[in-house]
Amino acid sequence: MSGRGGISGVKRPRPGSNGSKELTADEHNVYNLIKSKGDMGIWKGDIRKELNITNAKTIDNCVKSLLLKQMIKEVPNVQAKGKKRLMAMEFEPSKELTGGVWYHEGMLDEDLIDNLKRVCLQRLSKQKVATADGMRHEIKMTGVFQVDFTVEQMKDILDNLVLEKQISRVKSNGMGELASFPINAECYKLKSQRAKVGDFSMIPCGVCPRINHCAPDGVISPVTCVYYTKWLEF
């Protein structure tokens, strides 16, 4: 791999070759810079800054040529969608760029996450309590998913369900339904009741996006409010 960049010794094109390794000085510099960035790659705009090349067109041409020669590739960046990174072919994009296991082609893999959450809830409704490792094992046994998840990934999913208040996190005290878990083990438990609907959010004002513009004698007022009128339709 290290030999790829060392093409300074090549004097002339060999007959019959596709010329993929023929690089101009600029292309060579650009390629070396991109390669030096490893699995993080580099944004086109940053190449210009780092190489002090004033003409943007030169960079464009170099990149185009390197892409055609399949020496570099464009990688989507989850942090900034408009700023695709350029990376040497031999590298795989880092977790920071791809977003990790929960991202697919730069997009959050919502289908995978939702399916996993659904299966976790199903299993918890049967078992009542489980640890992240136990859940991982359960999911593996179901064979619904092609990939093997790690305990950390299961924790991510279960913690997300805790954030949604669908389940709660409890520390085992070795009593009752937690008797089969070691003391202090972190367990996840299905909530016995659905989350309470807030007293405020049950009336139109509780969900009104315009409450800050509403005043008794204002343009928006409880007397003229369309949400109220709809609410009081019988």
């Binding site: 989850v78 942090q79 969608k81 977003g99 990790g100 929960w102 997009m107 959050l108 996450i113 991510d156 913690d159 997300n160 954030l163 949604e164 208040k165 709660s168 409890v170 005290n173 009593m175 009752g176 937690l178 016995s192 009741q193 659905r194 989350a195 309470k196 609907v197 807030g198 007293d199 405020f200 959010s201 049950m202 009336i203 004002c205 509780g206 969900v207 996006p209 409450i211 800050n212 509403c214 008794p216 007022s221 409880p222 007397v223 409010c225 109220y228 609410w231 009081l232 019988f234």
Partner: protein, 475 residues
Amino acid sequence: MAALTPFGIKLAVHIITTDFGNLVSKICECLLRRGTLSKALISRFTELPQDKVKKCLWVLIQHNCVQAFALEQEGGGKDTTVVVTQYMALFNNIIHRLRFPKFMSIVSKEQDTKVRSSDTHQESFTKLVRCRFVERCPAPEPLISLPNEGDTPAKKGGGRNKVFMKEVTLEERALAAAIPMDAERFSISYDQGVDSDEEKIESKISGLKVGEKRKQDSLDWDSELDTMGGKKEPACVEHVRAEYDNVAAVILKSMLEGAKHTVSSVSLSLDSIFEEVIKSKEGLTMEHLRYSLEQLDFCSETNDVYTINMKDIIKKAQLEEVECIVKKRYGIEAFRIFRSLTNGRPLDTDKISERTFVDKKNTPQTLYKLWKDNYILMEKVTTGGPRQADFFLWSVKKGNLWHQILDELYHAALNLCLRYAYEVDQEREIQNLSIENPSPEVKERRMRLRNVRILLDSSLMKLDDAVMIFHDFLL
């Protein structure tokens, strides 16, 4: 006066306007907005003649919406003092006026089995006092004297053991002086001269002067809304039911009943809790009880004595209410984001995105919406070094947010009241029509108005549960 917010004042003024008219509400609004004032100043600010101000103040004091107190002030000459009567609006008591239906339902529910028709009025009354539904009226005009030099806390004080004392406001001093001591507050000592209960009640109304409207020794009573038994209890029990399970709710309810009166913390032994719990939940074993108690975050245990901290439950209930608002207004992603920040630790945008499974592209937008409406705070942090980078840290600051939510709750309560008045006003003509043989259209409109009133009334009572949870947000 932590609960005094802009819309809180508007709501209080609306309540007073509805109950006592524009003139009285003008005086009340003046006191609410400007703070404690003398009669002369009220007259000046409201541009009303002093005799009218006096009459309005009578009404307000009579209904416990204003407290008068005599304030000792330095006079013109050397070592001379003058005493000026000051009037302060009692915001909480004004808001309590909305709660009469709720108060009556609690009293009738609790007293239903205890108060029978055979009981004399006196017995019923005694029971109401004993249950703290009724309390002795505050002193008519307590004297607040000038602070002695020795009373003022030293401005400078060093050392590790320095204790910061919260400065007591003039209003707090006046209220403390006016409210009788606990033993007297709920004690009964009848006047010999007053025989029947009707006469006693009459004595409450007759012969009142400003500042002297109630004589402490006469038997005057106020419905005790302030210690309205379990005013927060039902909301706390419901919160625990949703957060944990039915058993946890039964345990909390039983412990509160076992403790008789609501205080900030309740301690009971395991046996006592068990005794209380099996009254309402048969078949619960001691082991199950112990297990359930262990699961409660707000409950601590020392030597089989369990202590529940009401403040912790109220704090959680407040948080839950705000979370519900966020979920309904901004959606499930914002709900997850908000919840990830409620432990008080600031997080940067990427970390929030990772934790909450919100697409990195959408996270800043959702955070911006929450920040714009003051639900979260933002702090820009720039890292040093050769390549500077900007990070945005996000956090939830409960104090400010809770104040905003309380104001929105008052705003919503005011809106419910205004809409109620509007709906009733719109249908005034059909209310005046004869009841016999109404046309189908009138029948339909009457039915609609009935439904509207029920919905608005019940919503106001439900909303008030949230107001009471937030009222003491500085707990």
